[in-house]
Symmetry: C2
Subunit: 365 residues, 2 copies
């Protein structure tokens, strides 16, 4: 008996909330071929270990880092945790703190809980980017890490990374850039976000988001390989000698699919996808504005708009997978699987709901 066969996995034709997407066909193929391999045990599975070196090399190209070091993580959360851990280990302070704009991902709260470091959350400015004055006044000699986000989860904003780097250096702290989602679109914009633009020490950049690899394929990059030594433990019973990853056994599917996707798409395929996604986001933003909703300008392919809760709930009831920002705005991520047709159908449903809502309620209701 195989009851799982009777369950249909989510199809993507109404998914507007996810930062994951359908893997590119070559990424799916690679994931299926390498399903039964474990890059966490390179002595046993050397082929996938070699592919992981290739993945890091390609990620380095995307992120402006020569001689990159790092590894393919389970996802952005692991990479963010490990960045905080490196900073904690490197810091002289016994009470280290991490300074992050409020637009930072909740995985940093997880990291702070786990690693028992203080997380200092500073406000963002009117454009949802880290408020530099607030960051400057928040760092001190106990600051181990300053976090900048390159493509925020809620509004797709890029923090002023070079300036954050200067603030971090002024107190001998490290700079981490969370480009988990933005890393595969930012190479095609004018933003300054990567190792070549600023004194970035560590970066999260996930192939399994805009990179179109299969889950789990997150990415941790570090400017110099010795930073990974802070994470290493000895590994008896494996024919390798130490391990810097948070997990032990890891998915070869994720690693192989990341290499396959990046080889197929970097840079031209990713550029075309960015243009398509950005155009979709701008189309959706305009469609929502025309209907009188307040829309946050989509500087990256992510749209946030003030839609009433009742409308939001009605759209979810119609099967749309949508989510909200912390302040309650509708949030639509224009991932590669999100087509213009999907968005037109979404707006069509919205229009039907609004028409119904505007019908006067009769007295015998």
């Amino acid at each position: 008996m195989d009851a799982v066969r009777e369950v249909e996995p989510q199809d993507f034709d109404r998914v507007l909330s996810s930062m994951c997407t359908e893997p590119h066909p070559v990424a799916r193929d690679a994931a299926e071929r390498f399903l039964a391999t474990n890059p966490g045990d390179p002595g046993t599975y050397p082929q996938v270990a070699e592919l992981e070196r290739e993945a890091i090399s390609l990620l380095g190209e995307v992120a402006g880092l020569e001689d990159p070091a790092g590894y393919v993580a389970s996802g952005g959360t692991e990479a963010n945790i490990q960045a905080v851990r490196i900073a904690r280990e490197r810091a002289d302070s016994r009470t280290p703190n991490v300074v992050m704009p409020e637009s930072g991902h909740f995985s940093f709260q997880k990291a702070a809980d786990l690693l028992e470091v203080e997380l200092r959350i500073v406000p963002t400015d009117d454009d949802h980017r880290a408020d530099l004055a607030a960051v400057r006044s928040c760092v001190d000699s106990d600051t181990a890490l300053v976090v900048g986000v390159a493509g925020t989860t809620e509004y797709g904003r890029v923090d002023p990374i070079p300036e954050l780097g200067r603030v971090a250096r002024s107190v001998d702290a490290m700079l981490h850039v969370d480009a988990a989602w933005g890393g595969f679109v930012l190479p095609f914009t004018d933003d300054e976000w990567h190792f070549g633009h600023a004194p970035v020490d560590t970066m999260t950049i996930d192939p399994h988001k805009m990179g179109q690899a299969a889950v789990p394929a997150g990415g941790l990059l570090v400017r110099s390989a010795d930073l990974l030594d802070h994470l290493a433990v000895d590994t008896p019973y494996l024919e390798s000698t130490s391990q810097a990853t948070l997990t032990g056994t890891r998915s070869g599917a994720g690693v192989a699919s990341a290499v396959a996707a990046m080889e197929a798409l970097w840079p031209d395929g990713y550029r075309r996808q960015y243009v398509r996604s950005q155009n979709n986001a701008e189309w959706l933003a305009e469609a929502l504005e025309k209907r009188g909703y307040e829309v946050v300008d989509p500087t990256l392919p992510l749209v946030a708009a003030s839609v009433p809760r009742s409308t939001f709930d009605a759209l979810r009831a119609r099967g749309w997978r949508i989510s909200r920002t912390a302040t309650g705005e509708l949030r639509v991520v224009c991932m590669p699987h999100v087509t213009r047709e999907m968005l037109a159908s979404f707006i069509g449903d919205l229009d039907r709901l609004e028409v119904r809502a505007s019908v006067p309620i009769t007295s015998d209701d």
Copy 2:
């Protein structure tokens, strides 16, 4: 261009070192179907979230736990880290310690580094099981957790779990059982290892090892759901409210394949596999003993034997994926993909090497 297609993944016909294996065909099928889903976002991917509840329910059956709670983790390392984290959070002490036999997995060292708890490692007895007297004399009022292993990585030994539970209770510590590898063979032995046998609070039990699921499918079980509250962080932008996992985005492939494997194999298929693996281990142990090697009795399907380093290296050079214990013994894990034919071929290679080694070296060499 797709250079990954030219790389052949490891095939399993010489893999004797891994605690992972080829996924069962139904597990592979489920993994491929659910590749593009994320149980970390249940609001967007409700089908795989429902499958995860089914996975935990089945794991509870395997591990003797009614009303089980827990989740499908990235692997045993994550589950062990989370168990230590729960214990740290629950402990009153500001300097909590964890007491573990030296046979415990190196992931506990990782957990101790990460969580900044003291790891107290106690010796094992002559049969490689936790030395109870040593554990008793090591625990104190700061002990947050006692770890017992049910199927050790090196020798497949099961610690005296009920007795460790009593020791843990005597100092108000928790008891964690690491059955990452052993959990899918121990139901068919006389060992006392699970929630029904002892006051176990948390357990690691990995479908992606002897459970024949696809990586990544580890398992964390907790006796009562409120223990997971120690791990939870709030989750804005997801239509769920909190998250107890260490990672964020997670692999639906692992979850679906775990359910498919357990539905297909629990209990009869796993029982048959245990018998086959155990018979293979005993056959290999006898073959090695006959050849004069010192062998650790395989009480579970894992064989350790004192083979000279030069022989070990020569076998690796012939393509055998083998590994060593911390004290240098050859270690062979009789996973489901390990057949009698593979082992006979391995012994054949060993015999050829030994014949060659015993040929007198001639003077003109």
